[in-house]
């Protein structure tokens, strides 16, 4: 019988712990498929964060290192520099990357480290139960901003892709989402391009994925996807942020 669809060999055959409607599973799949298509499951070294994807080493089939909170880009810097010929990626959420790990991601981008970061932006702290993140939108409610985030109290949300794109070491940044198949296909393409440019030795590559967190947003998946497109995509525009030629 002809196989129409199969689980990617870039993933282990195990059950994911993510909540219903969470985007992590889809993004895991896109990364895993990319590694499989590059024939790189056996060579890739991934670095996972602290947050909901802390267990990603139990899901990805490649070798993985679990970093301390926010430090994945530092860990990946050393992994890639000591293993320059293999794909290296970090997989980080917005609390991990944009808050506690802001210094590490900025300096990895500045140095032009030749690894890929998959940045999961769901505008909230998922694993700890829905606290405000640097990416939480104005008016969005969080357990530490119960009437909604205000600019006066917490400033404006951080557009990480745009901020990092000011650094010459970053050669490619694209913001995508996975709310439907067309967007998912674009996301896959972006992830693949990021890994390819990494392996070309061009520099640091970055894919920001706007993701749904129905559990902590207090919405069902359909409401979540609609809210994401209406609100997140309005503040965090989808598309290529930077695609620089190598000088």
């Amino acid at each position: 019988m002809k196989t129409i669809y199969a689980k990617s060999k870039g993933l282990q055959d195990t059950e994911l712990h993510y909540c219903p409607g969470c985007s992590h599973g889809i993004v895991h799949k896109l990364v895993a498929e990319t590694l499989e298509e590059m024939d790189a499951v056996g060579t890739t070294i991934g670095v996972c964060p602290v947050g909901c994807s802390v267990f990603a080493g139990n899901y990805f089939a490649c070798d993985m290192i679990e970093a301390s909170h926010g430090r994945a880009p530092a860990v990946a810097t050393a992994v890639k520099r000591t293993h320059p010929d293999v794909p290296v990626f970090t997989y980080q959420g917005d609390g991990d990357l944009a808050s506690i790990g802001a210094a590490e991601i900025v300096h990895a981008a500045m140095r032009g480290e030749k690894f890929t970061t998959i940045f999961i932006n769901n505008a909230i702290y998922g694993m700890t139960g829905g606290q405000m993140a640097p990416t939480t939108l104005i008016g969005q409610r969080a357990t530490t901003a119960q009437s909604g985030r205000t600019q006066q109290q917490a400033g404006m949300p951080m557009r990480v892709s745009e901020m990092l794109s000011t650094l010459d070491g970053l050669v490619y940044a694209e913001r995508v989402c996975v709310v439907d198949i067309p967007h998912l296909m674009k996301a896959k393409k972006a992830i693949k391009k990021a890994f390819q440019r990494q392996m070309n030795g061009d520099g640091f590559t970055f894919v920001e994925v706007l993701c749904a967190c129905p559990t902590n947003w207090g919405m069902d998946i359909h409401e979540s996807n609609k809210w994401l497109m209406d609100n997140m995509a309005a503040y965090y525009p989808l598309g290529v942020i930077k695609d620089a030629e190598v000088k």
């Binding site: 290192i65 679990e66 000591t82 300096h107």
Partner: protein
């Protein structure tokens, strides 16, 4: 063999390269900048990786990454910077990652001073980060010992899959002394089959991790670490003793103060006071058993602990002596170095009190 004059920090860096260290990750801080400066060019010549990180926090996590991917690696810093590395050291202990951390201690707390100190003994020997862990701590008293211990530290780290700390005071880092580069016996080390360096044909992926969210599993993990620590306590304890056989006063000291104490003890003997010196080389594991034996000798009337701190190793000396004999203390701190005559005077006073 040929004797060469080296500066402490550079000798430590060279020793690491000779030991096969191929990753150095650091951040500038006085008084150890010669280590990253030396590494910045010599590591590349050796075919290794040097990165000046954006912070000590990042540097130790680079060490975590390189170690996790199976590479011999290290970082160095001084007291305030080593405080920032404690999170990473705890994670490395939890994930069982081998690496070497050099602390060239300066005065504290906070920014303190940039002069030599031993005020980080508690932090180094008690596990400065969170969780139940221990870190082997090696304390050289001269440059020859420093280069020998640095080379062996990498083997100790690999054998037990643990971070190892070289605890040197600022004098070790800054002074120049003759050393001989002799061959350090290499340990028979197991292959790093656990490293996340590419799955290849393995039937499973390697996952470097310190999270065990199931409490019984975390308890078992701690039990395994504890068994390793007990083994290290049995097999890796080191110390030096001089003139202790007939000593009436035993001076306990490590690092540079131990060298000063040896001169003081020799002078005391000339004055008719039978002084000896007990110098721990491993601070963890501390040589409790041997110090207890010495304290139990009939000849010994009193002990004098000398440190460049307000009395931190003193706790371990007291645990070993366990009130068998009086333990006195003489410390200079905040970056001040005790003199020979000060230690002599403290020893004479200690002897006078117990007569």
């Amino acid at each position: 063999m040929k004797r060469e004059i080296w500066k402490g920090s550079e000798a430590i860096a060279e020793a690491a390269i000779r030991a096969g260290c191929r990753g150095f990750f650091g951040y500038p801080i006085t008084p150890q900048n010669e280590i990253p400066e030396y590494m910045s060019h010599k590591m590349a010549e050796a075919g290794g990786v040097f990165v000046q990180a954006e912070s000590e926090v990042s540097a130790i996590n680079m060490v975590y990454g390189a170690a996790g991917a199976g590479v011999r690696c290290m970082t160095s810093s001084s007291s305030p910077g080593v405080s920032l590395k404690q999170e990473g050291i705890s994670y490395m202990a939890g994930a069982k990652l081998p690496a070497v951390i050099v602390n060239v201690m300066r005065g504290g707390p906070g920014l303190g001073s940039i002069q030599p100190s031993q005020a980080d003994y508690y932090q180094a020997t008690r596990g400065g980060g969170n969780g139940d862990y221990r870190t082997p701590v090696l304390a050289p008293a001269n440059l020859q010992e420093a280069v020998d211990l640095v080379q062996e530290a990498f083997d100790i780290a690999d054998q037990y899959r643990t971070p190892v700390m070289i605890l040197a005071d600022g004098l070790i880092g800054q002074m120049m002394e003759p050393i001989v580069w002799h061959d350090i016996p290499k340990r028979d080390l197991p292959p790093k089959t656990w490293a996340a360096n590419g799955r290849g044909d393995r039937d499973h992926n390697n996952f470097i991790n310190s999270l065990l969210i199931d409490a019984p599993a975390c308890e078992r993990h701690n039990q395994e670490l504890l068994e390793t620590y007990h083994y290290i306590e049995e097999h890796e304890v080191r110390w030096e003793e001089l003139m202790t056989e007939d000593a009436e006063i035993v001076i306990t000291a490590y690092g540079t103060p131990a060298r000063i104490a040896i001169t003081a003890a020799e002078n005391l003997r000339k004055k008719g006071i039978k002084a000896g010196v007990f110098r721990p080389i491993t601070l963890w594991p501390f040589p409790f058993k041997r110090l207890k034996e010495i304290a139990s000798q009939d000849s010994v009337k009193v002990l004098l602990d000398v440190e460049m701190s307000t009395g931190q190793m003193l706790d371990d000396v007291n645990l070993a002596v366990a009130e068998r004999k009086p333990v006195k203390f003489y410390g200079r701190y905040g970056g001040v170095i005790p003199t020979v005559s000060e230690i002599e005077a403290a020893a004479e006073a200690a002897c006078g009190e117990v007569k």
